[in-house]
Symmetry: C2
Subunit: 477 residues, 2 copies
């Protein structure tokens, strides 16, 4: 007999005789009411046991976490809280769960404790909801791009170039670390390594994606990226998933349009497809906020925040305008910022971004046309000679969620920049080929997927929106 | 003015005045007929130039690979080969392509040469088609699982455990290779490494996916996996993408049903969604086959092979039956196999798998119930004490495309096995927790995505179905 998902039974419109479910005990009370969850939906189904005809031994084994198969009839429930329940006719315990030892007790655990049990935390309502939303959100990403004719490109994870210099990198090697072969000059002999050269984990698939955009027109990546940055914060992971669309013939304005449309689409998609999980997460955040001081509370609930993003245009503000706003802002004048904004050219810190988004504009903000000196080599130089066609999208509570730009398509300008930055041009021969042969304006951006999941689920620590977070001193599981 | 995709224009049902396209020159003949491709579809659009009113200099710059913006009227074509063409009213060259130097000349290149130009090969018809099919196939994967309520799980890429012992692994480190810190005992001091322990690139997300299946019920992974195996063959990559579904409460039969249904779904999906690219690939393979000796030719075209898989049940054959068939087979009796099958327990080589699939059954085959000794520790032991509930799916021309099993859900049996194999049980504390708390039968499989892309596109070398292949001595780009 095939078993039915709890989700389908809870969505039933009428009683059903003889159903079979399989799942795990969440709670068991009064020797009678068993709440079963099978992961298909956040809600449990109530199963009513005929305890007079059930052995004492079986009843004792119905502990939180135990796996069970339950046969019975789906009937309308007389109790409050559920429309249907199962009158149990047969019950089989598939796997016990020692009530004394089971780490996921039916009580509130700290997020820190749950992180240490990342293999079990997904059995809680909270992490079940977060991980289902994460999954649906990732499908929304693919849906958006595929529906619009973008090709998904799997750019390499192991790369031979760190030309972008995006930060500290992880090395990948098959050399024995306790006996590294050396050349006569005493350097590491990479010729003996698997790839015959120094290799590392990718920090971005953008450069490779650009080569595909210049053939297929519109492409996107969605894969893991890595930073060996020693930042133990609630905003950083050493391993995270990134989405990087790249579009031939798009200028920066079209790039902003794409990013805004994309973000709104995926948020709308989860609102439509994850109502139960988002309702739960909304409730949870409300409760968490209610424990804060009134001044620290968010003016909007989670669902209100998501709808607000859908219903409002992102404010588009040039870097130069933003600097003016910041220079004249109260926290700057009163020296409340850690980094006082004194002049054009300053790199914006997260405190400044938060001020712009949360205090000044009270809306997502797209900053564009940054000083060339604080941005990457591949961004298109404006005619003013000092700014580049870069854009960052800043979100309330999250900070930077998107970084993008129109790319420098002019070979000579790009080569000049590479020279100035002392990057080895030979390393980038293939990248420069896209400018040598049939170059054209093109643009793209990178969106950190976990930041998006944070925004949608309202989780404040990035370690709580990825199954098994990788952070300094932590690669358990 | 917004530009239109070539695909949309070619699908037009009527002439359209004043259209704008942007793309790259494929060919230019008689100073008049320009074939433009923009990557949206394999076909070019013919653009007819009024050469008498176009400057000599512009005409000279219309070389293969040049990027152009073309304005004109979409009209019915009087020539054969296309229904519509564009009568050009305005032409702008966005980026030149030096005809002498451009590596992608309009002629047939060897696959080897194209591999060395992986950043440009996607500009050819062949690789454009392969990469579009790959993209649609990956969307089909997500579609299949998401439509059925599976949650997508991003299992970690960097892991601290190599418990599975699936082969040679890549180490990940942030230690300086030219100056590895050592402990007092002279060992590598991993405490100083980024994660404070030895870490490597994942060879499979299965064990982590199992922990999620035991909470969410049905999950799947789809991400990069790695093997530092020094195999320079047309079937191996050091970096490849793997799909690993894992389902609570599924036994091996349900697992086989899922795998077969899944493979048929994704093949049907690309047949429906990539007609132009598959027609091209079908034609290409026909031509390639026609150059072979009659005896070596495939009896079916690519499209016939794909339809054959859809229309026929995969043959389900136990390992024991397969050994009997192989023992009595002609090549075994005539000692034509490199590895002669002498007795039950032998590990099947690719020559045996091919014999079963291509000669004996002439159909995809699912082999199941393998000897325990040649399979992984986590597979469920049968009551005979010597076989495990493993399955491999074998495909014509490809060999093993799926490997899966019902997992050993009994804690004591699993612990015994781990002990026998001398695996450090402490490394697997979290994995064993799934058997300690609410264990239940469950099953899953792994499917090498590139092998699937090979089967669907008819490409014989696995390096030609991934954007930037990673193989021994090769991590260019």
């Amino acid at each position: 007999m095939k078993h039915t998902k709890v989700k389908d039974l809870l969505n039933s419109t009428k009683p059903v005789d003889d159903v079979l479910i399989k799942g795990w005990v969440r709670t068991f009370r009064s020797n009678r009411f068993l709440a079963i969850n099978d992961g298909s939906v956040i809600h449990n189904i109530q199963c009513v046991i005929d305890f007079e005809n059930t052995s004492e031994e079986t009843l004792k084994r119905l502990t939180t976490g135990a796996a069970v198969a339950i046969q019975g009839n789906l009937v309308e429930s007389s109790g409050s809280g559920q429309q249907f329940e199962i009158q149990v006719t047969n019950l089989e315990i598939l796997g016990d769960s020692d009530a004394e030892k089971y780490p996921m007790q039916p009580k509130k655990h700290t997020l820190e404790f749950l992180r240490e049990n990342a293999h079990l935390r997904v059995r809680t309502n909270l992490f079940g909801a977060v991980m289902r939303v994460r999954s649906v959100l990732s499908f929304a990403v693919h849906h958006y791009f595929q529906d619009r004719g973008f090709a998904y490109v799997n750019t390499p994870i192991i790369t031979g170039s760190d030309a972008e210099g995006a930060g500290e990198i992880f090395q990948v090697t098959s050399l024995p670390l306790n006996n590294i072969p050396k050349t006569e000059e005493g350097d590491v002999d990479y010729k003996q390594d698997f790839f015959g050269k120094e290799t590392n984990l990718t920090v971005s698939g953008q450069l490779e994606a650009e080569t595909f955009a210049m053939a297929l027109g519109q492409v996107y990546t969605f894969g893991p990226t890595f930073r060996a940055e020693n930042s133990n914060t609630s905003r950083h992971l050493a391993e995270f998933w990134m989405i990087e669309p790249e579009v031939a013939f798009n200028d920066l304005d079209a790039n902003m349009d794409l990013a805004e449309d994309f973000i709104k689409y995926v948020i709308r998609y989860v609102l439509e497809n994850c109502p139960e999980d988002l309702t739960f997460l909304n409730q949870r955040l409300k409760q968490e906020e209610s424990q804060k001081k009134a001044a620290d509370r968010s003016p909007m609930t989670l669902l209100e925040k998501l709808r607000f993003v859908l219903e409002n245009n992102f404010k588009r503000v040039s870097y130069t305008e933003a600097i003016d706003i910041l220079k004249n802002s109260k926290p700057n004048r009163n020296k409340k910022f850690n980094y006082i904004i004194e002049e054009w050219g300053a790199d914006l810190q997260s405190e400044h971004e938060r001020y712009l988004v949360e205090k000044h504009f009270k809306s997502p903000v797209i900053l564009f046309d940054y000083p060339a000196d604080i941005k990457a080599f591949y961004m298109r130089l404006n005619d003013d000679g000092k700014t580049v066609r870069a854009m960052d999208i800043l979100f309330p509570g999250i900070g930077e969620i998107v970084g993008g730009s129109q790319r420098e398509e002019r070979l000579d300008v790009l080569q000049q920049k590479i020279k100035e930055l002392d990057i080895d041009e030979k390393e980038l021969w293939w990248y420069l080929d896209t400018r040598r042969y049939g170059s054209a304006p093109h643009s793209g951006f990178g969106l950190g997927f976990e930041r998006l999941v944070q925004f949608v689920t309202g989780m404040s620590n990035i370690r709580d929106v990825i199954p098994f977070p990788r952070t300094p001193q932590n690669a358990e599981f």
